[in-house]
Amino acid sequence: MAVKEMTPHDADSLLEVEQTFGDRLRYLGRLLWRDKSGMIGLLMFLTVVFAAVFAPVVSTYPPLEQNLRDSKQPPAWYAEGSWDHPFGTDNLGRDIYSRVIYGARVSLTVGFFGVMIAGTLGLLIGSIAGFSGGRTDSTIMGVINLILALPYLLFVVFIAAILGRSLINVILIFGITDSPIFARVTRGEVLRMRQSGYVESAIAAGAKTPRIIFDHIMPNLIGPLITLATFEMSAMIFYEAGLGFLGLSVPPSVPSWGNMLAAGRGYLTTAPWLSPFPGLALVWTAVGLNLLGDWLRDVLDPRLRRSRK
């Protein structure tokens, strides 16, 4: 009866096929190797994660240790500098290198948990809007557009003024104010998938709603949301530094990149090395995350992979 489809050429062209989970990882690895910018992005981001996790080991001084005698020492490559403090010291004699390392902790914590909260909230709200449709959908989307239209910074200043300065508050503020973006993307994807052939096919096979959500829609949401999370994390790390610079983020004693930038501002003429290092750390992290996000966007969509005949 039916014709056998395999040919010698099919067999050849199917060599690169993903059979097991290990194969898929290897395939991803190959894609990463082929896309050099994704590789660089991943490496850049991993250095930041490494610094944050192993901060006590990597750093040379406790970040809060003051040593007024050594204050405002220039970096090692200045004539007066020493390798004791490779990036120099600040006005209170704290080691800048160690503070930059510890600063990664604040930034990554804010970025990671902020994105987690924003993502969870956004996923929830967006799914409700996308699934229910009709009046509920238009109402939710109306509110979301309203929030997105509010001057962001004003909103943050207002909340920070009420809730006070702490790491948790910063994370909560970012989590809440950033969730509309995740909600919008989720809703769009849900709407698109609800009309997709495979969801219709699942309904035709007798699937109930929970199955359709958890088996067909959620797994397909992961790709776009992880990509978005990468970009949003980079944005949050920047915003946190901005807030820190304005004195609205974590208390000044905490070594965060934003706080260090703010503190260095006063000494730009006398000790110009105070601000560049936290600034460079910020740029490094943001560039790494953005390169990684670009690569993830391409890789996480199975439809973009080469189709084989």
Partner: protein
């Protein structure tokens, strides 16, 4: 009648991140003045890429025309379109060679009125005043069967149905009285009744203009009605080229035979089983050293797995790329 277009040994490749796609692997054919040539093939056969290469419309990168010539003879002068400088080529495209594509939406500019788009083509290629161009545009719109042309001059593409848009595209293609019109699947996106309108329009226009037409399609039915000669493409090569009656009545390539057998006949009484071609077309990423149809062919013998068959002349204006002689029932002596 002279030859207006001669394509010789065309080779086009695409350099993608997945590897080199061997899209066109040595294609040679010619086109007579005023003749309608149908190019038939399935997706990936290279039928569109062939014409895009001739018009030098291959996106590059990744595409690259590696070899070949496309001699275009117009008013006694011959040029190789593949080596012509870009300015001269722009004059040829839309001037001496008109083009109609499958999707009129992407061909037309959504923010320009259709009248402006047609007269723009006219003023770009011919030396006429804006007023004359407008007059000519309205004449063209009448010619392609758009009612109330004066009124429709000011309409935007979105205000037209698919069939009407395709008529506008045809008006642009014929605006400068081209010697060749290349139509790439012009009716594929349209319904049958609209397809019939467009096919009919095309036949009458090409006759009135005495233009040669290259009609690219996957539909063997449409080609039977419109073409005088048919070229069958497979795997980036020509499988067979013949006069239309010859091709449908005495196909010489097993692929052509298979394609015709795969079609249901509207005139048949009893439901016969369709003849299907087994397997799938070649993966163009793999360069072949033998016939690209060999593993789907019932007649393949050793030679088919060893060399690539050349275009063999088997009759007046009938060429086939196959080592097996279907009529004799054995290998050809070549």
């Amino acid at each position: 009648m002279g030859k207006i277009l001669e394509v010789k040994n065309l080779v086009t490749k695409f350099y993608t991140s997945d590897g080199v796609v061997n899209a066109i692997n040595g294609v040679s054919f010619d086109l007579e003045e005023g003749e309608t040539l149908g190019i038939v093939g399935e997706s990936g056969s290279g039928k569109s890429v062939t014409m895009m290469s001739v018009l030098r419309l291959i996106p590059s990168p990744p595409g690259k025309i590696e070899e070949g010539e496309a001699i275009f003879t117009s008013f006694g002068a011959s040029h190789d379109l593949l080596t012509l400088d870009e300015t001269a080529m722009r004059d040829v495209r839309g001037g001496q060679i008109g083009m109609v594509f499958q999707d009129p939406i992407s061909t037309l500019n959504p923010i320009m009125t259709i009248g402006e788009q047609i007269s723009e083509t006219i003023t770009r290629h011919l030396r006429v005043s804006n007023d004359e161009a407008r007059q000519q545009t309205i004449k063209l719109l009448t010619q392609v069967g758009i009612p109330d042309p004066e009124l429709r001059y000011k309409s935007y593409p979105f205000q037209f149905s698919g069939g009407m848009r395709q008529r506008v595209v045809i008006a642009i293609a014929i605006a400068c009285s081209p010697q060749i019109i290349i139509a790439d699947e012009p009716t594929t996106a349209l319904d049958v009744t609209i397809q019939a309108q467009i096919v009919d329009l095309f036949k009458r226009l090409s006759e009135a203009l005495n233009a040669a037409v290259i009609w690219i399609t996957h539909d063997l039915g449409v080609v039977a009605g419109i073409a005088e000669r048919v070229l069958v493409m497979y795997g980036g090569r020509i499988a067979e080229i013949a006069l239309v009656d010859d091709l449908y009545e005495h196909p010489q390539h097993p692929y052509t035979v298979g394609l015709l057998g795969a079609l249901p006949k509207l005139d048949e009484e009893e439901t016969k089983r369709l003849v299907s071609i087994r397997g799938a077309p070649p993966d163009l990423l793999i360069p072949l050293k033998h016939c690209p149809f060999s593993w789907r062919c019932d007649y393949a013998f050793e030679r088919c797995w060893e060399e690539i068959p050349p275009q063999i002349k088997v009759g007046p204006r009938h060429e086939v790329s196959c080592f097996y002689d279907l009529e004799k029932g054995g290998p050809r002596d070549v």
